[in-house]
């Protein structure tokens, strides 16, 4: 099991040349081989969504993808959301609407919501609720997350 494959992961525009076992999950590679620990691990079985990152424009559970599957693809994580110290509207909205408490699930929610809204800016409220129910948060009771994402959606559409 210890044969390693050389791959390059492109995270937030930076290339990381790493060698991983074929069984290495993408989230482990992002965190441990590339040192980007903003992406968190909550369950490792694809339920909680704490590890959600955006791969080639799609939000994915990085615990359910192997690192080797992501080679050559564009990976975006929470560390890449803010540009030149300016927060992404989604980050700002989470602060303004108290959409986080302990902050552990937050990177996953941010990447899920950003990924979906970039793909579908005019998503309806019911569909948005469906999307947000794919991740778990244990602190907030979700109401403020929903408010934050709706506010950010408006902002991202240019009001």
């Amino acid at each position: 099991m210890s044969d390693k494959t050389a791959i390059t992961l492109t995270i937030n525009g930076h290339d990381h040349a790493i060698a991983v076992e074929p069984r290495r999950t993408l989230v482990d590679a992002i965190r441990e081989d590339c040192g980007q620990t903003g992406t968190h691990i909550g369950c490792e079985h694809g339920i909680c969504g704490a590890c959600t990152v955006i791969v080639d424009g799609e939000p994915v559970r990085s615990c359910l993808m192997f690192a080797v599957q992501a080679a050559g693809k564009k990976i975006r994580t929470v560390e890449g959301l803010a540009k030149d110290d300016k927060l992404h509207p989604m980050q700002q909205a989470f602060m303004d609407h108290h959409g986080l408490q302990c902050g552990f699930c937050t990177p996953g929610f941010l990447m899920l919501a950003v990924g979906v809204l970039e793909r579908e800016p005019d998503i309806g409220d019911d569909d948005l609720l469906d999307v947000l129910s794919s991740n778990l948060c244990r602190c907030t009771g979700y109401q403020n997350i929903i408010k934050a994402v709706r506010a950010a959606a408006k902002e991202m559409r240019g009001k």
Binding site: S2, T37, V78, L81, L87, F94, F104, S133, S134, T140
Partner: protein, 778 residues
């Protein structure tokens, strides 16, 4: 909502300012335990059987595998209570001789990577001679049940008894006796970050730094140093960003002791990150109780007396430091809840079984006792043919201070007012009309009420009353204005999502006239924070907040003294505001930064009248206070499938002075979501052999955004005389009231069917089973 942390002329307390915690957390810059690199990774090999004798633990060749045989010098985890016939039982950090639950750690594999450690763990060969396990509390109490610990005959680890002197006399006068058999199944707090620990040896100092997901860093240090016979000074414990705890991260984990032992042995760094399966089977459980409750009512449906028989399944061992008394004894002390009932009889037992150890989880016993008591009130209302709201009006406490049957003193609260506020806001007549119309269409709506008290800010006498060897009731805060005029606050509490850095900053800002953005709260590191008890039991804003206010008052007094000196004005004329001391009615002022600098660098100017520096300490140990609330749930039950939808949730609550309304509302929202999960979805299910059937998040189901309705909040602020900030705690209330309100609403919806649901969680299976049984009986 006010969204900035700078400003002028306004009080900071009471404002919904944005949290100072958030910028790091939303940019991926939070620092959690599992983010740390380590030379060695640890995987625990856990028992797959619930009861038996360990015959063999064999490691693969060349693998480093630690067992109890290596840890002979390590003391057992042996928490202590000095009352209630408590039987101290010890837990070896790795199973020794006997296994007592599925998930008990038996061996620790050390390897270079997590994957390698997992591969080796799969090859560790363990032979256990299985014996018959006891899983359910009632089975464990049955005569002839297998004995799990020799020290606790009959599997009873503690027994609390209480009876009011006049109980029997009053009981006989009752017009009606209402009985209820309530069952709360086992749950897991399920923080999104499971447990993790990282222990690193420093060769230069010989010290070990344990970074871990704890709510109580100082207590972890004391306990682990004791168990390993170390000087506390040689151990530093850090709670970095912690991804939720909800009580689960209070208790000492055996795993952390092993990590510190390994770091010292290997003179290196070792890390363990719990996976979700481990967390669900071995990361502490809660709420597993049977309660038989009887209420005696007079002819006007006023509650006269309560009799409770509480059996709490505490699992295989007792948790440290609270002990397993935390559930049964809290149930006993607080069972009468918000009602004026002077006659009370109670038997509360902690029962040992071959299951995961029980430990505190948000609300501790109160979600269970509130659900039980509020079901009883609804049953009584039905028996008296009066409205559930009306029956509560007749018995809620209205005069304060109120002394309960067991001697608890309730401070000023608004049990009746919050009920009326909720009743008005939900518009009961409109709901009843809608319910009636829906029933004609085969749709079953229900409304449920829960009124309750939430005891918060437990001071050390409250813990001493339980006979606890450790009484974690006080907090210390050290407040420094440094020579740059920046404020640093070192606290013994250990927040992990509660926003305490922000709310403490608001308290200080008002007291010394600065803005919250120049205040940094330092916590979670035994090297840099004063000894304290951490964050749990809705205590931090009351106790750490109180200690913060005391320290800030001292700094304020010192600043005024210095200003008086430097501005040559009477102390009574000095006003602290906008970062400066001003002489009232003049344009003379001096900045706080300048005064702080002088306090360090120009001490000769104060002629020995003012001590050098600008550091003050506050310690607070309050008598305890009671928040209160009324929760209302509106649900729809699909009688064909048993599925319950919570349509609306409304809260009228009183937690005293609200320091930051945004943070307070967030705490209530989160608690309600957990309460709804507890009421409908979440259950750790054991099979007969003691295996767990709910070991992943598809089977153990915390609620998603879909299950949580809009939550409408209404506040009353009754400032508490028992809290110097006037704030009462409110971290647990949401999950205390929600299960009762939801279950009462389900029963209201099912009224036409004549079934009773007295069990949480009220899963579709249970609701259908009750309906099916009724159909078959008809």
């Amino acid at each position: 909502m006010t969204t900035h942390t700078k400003g002028t002329g306004l009080k900071w307390v009471g404002r919904a300012i944005r949290r100072l915690e958030d910028p790091a957390l939303i940019t991926g810059q939070g620092r959690f335990t599992a983010d740390l690199p380590a030379v060695h990774r640890v995987r625990f090999v856990r028992s797959s059987v619930a009861a038996g004798k360990i015959k063999k633990i064999a490691a693969p060749q060349d693998a480093m595998v630690i067992t109890a045989a290596d840890l002979r010098a390590v003391k057992k985890i042996t928490p202590m209570l000095h009352k209630f016939n408590y039987k101290p039982v010890g837990q070896p950090v790795l199973g020794e001789g006997v296994v007592r639950f599925v998930g008990e750690p038996l061996a620790a594999v050390v390897a270079a990577s997590e994957a390698a450690a997992e591969d080796i763990a799969d090859l560790v060969d363990i032979t256990i001679d299985e014996t018959a396990p006891v899983i359910d509390a009632r089975d464990a109490l049955a005569p002839g049940a297998p004995q799990i610990h020799a020290e606790a005959p009959g599997n009873v680890i503690l027994e609390g008894k209480f009876k009011s002197p006049e109980f029997d006399t009053v009981w006989k006068t009752a017009a009606k006796i209402i009985k209820l058999e309530a069952r709360s199944h086992r749950q897991n707090a399920t923080p999104m970050e499971a447990r993790a620990g990282h222990a690193a040896y420093d060769a230069a100092s010989g010290r070990v730094t344990l970074t871990c997901t704890t709510q109580m860093p100082h207590v972890m240090r004391t306990a682990i140093a004791d168990m390993l016979d170390m000087r506390e000074a040689d151990l530093r414990v850090i709670a970095p960003d912690v991804g939720g705890g909800f009580g689960q991260k209070i208790s000492l984990c055996a795993e952390y002791v092993v990590l510190v032992w390994l770091a010292r042995k290997l003179k290196s760094s070792v890390a363990w990150t719990e996976d979700r399966r481990e967390n669900l089977i071995a990361g502490f459980h809660s709420r597993d109780q049977y309660i038989a409750l009887e209420g005696a009512f007079d002819k006007d449906a006023k509650l006269l007396a309560l009799r409770a028989d509480i059996a709490t399944n505490i699992g295989a061992y007792s948790c440290f430091p609270t002990t397993c008394g935390v559930e049964p004894l809290m149930a006993m002390a607080e069972m009468p809840g918000p009602y004026d009932v002077k006659q009370y009889e109670c038997l509360a037992r902690g029962v040992i079984t071959n299951t995961c150890t029980m430990a505190p989880y948000r609300g501790v016993s109160r979600p269970v006792i509130t659900f039980t008591l509020e079901r009883l009130m609804d049953k009584a209302a039905s028996a008296f043919k009066i409205d559930p709201i009306d029956i509560r009006r007749r018995s809620l406490i209205g005069k304060f201070p109120y002394t309960s049957a067991m001697g608890l003193v309730y401070d000023e609260a608004t049990y009746k007012e919050t009920l009326e506020m909720a009743v008005k806001a939900i518009d009961v007549p409109a709901f009843r009309a809608r319910q009636k119309a829906a029933r004609t269409k085969g749709r079953h709506l229900g409304i449920g009420f829960a009124t309750f008290s939430e005891r918060t800010g437990y001071g050390s006498p409250a813990f001493a009353a339980r006979g606890m060897e450790i009484t974690p009731g006080w907090e210390t805060v050290i407040l420094t204005v440094d020579p740059s005029g920046f404020v640093e606050v070192r606290i013994g509490s250990s927040p992990h999502g509660q926003g305490l850095r922000t709310t403490l900053a608001q308290i200080i800002a008002d007291e010394i006239g600065v803005t919250p953005d120049i205040i940094k709260v330092v916590h979670g590191d035994t090297d840099t924070s004063p000894y304290g008890w951490g964050t749990f039991a809705s205590r931090s804003l009351v106790i750490s907040g109180g200690a913060t206010l005391i320290a800030a008052q001292k700094v304020r007094a010192k600043l005024i003294k210095i200003a008086s000196h430097m501005l040559e004005a009477a102390p009574g004329d000095i006003v602290l505001a906008d970062g400066a001391a001003k002489v009232a009615g003049t344009d003379r002022s001096i900045s706080i930064a300048k005064m702080a600098r002088e306090a360090y660098t120009q001490t000769h100017r104060f002629k020995g009248e003012i001590e050098p520096g600008m550091t003050e300490t506050g310690t607070y140990d309050p008598p305890g206070t009671f928040s209160n609330a009324c929760h209302v749930a509106i649900v729809e039950v699909d009688v064909e499938t048993g599925h319950v939808t919570v349509e609306k949730f409304l809260v009228a609550e009183d937690a005293g002075r609200i320091i930051n309304p945004m943070i307070a509302d967030g705490q209530v929202h989160g608690g309600i979501a957990q309460g709804i999960g507890n009421a409908l979805l979440e259950e750790i299910i054991y099979d007969e052999s003691g295996g767990i059937l709910t070991a992943n998040l598809a089977d153990y189901m915390p609620p998603t955004a879909h299950e949580i309705p809009d939550i409408e909040l209404h506040h009353i602020e009754t400032p508490s005389a028992n809290s110097i900030t006037k704030a009462k705690g409110l971290g647990e209330g949401g999950c205390i009231g929600a299960p009762a309100a939801v279950i009462n609403a389900i029963n209201d919806a099912l009224t036409p069917f004549g079934v009773a649901i007295d069990e949480i969680p009220a899963t579709p299976q249970r609701i259908r089973a009750a309906l099916r049984a009724k159909e078959q009986a008809a």
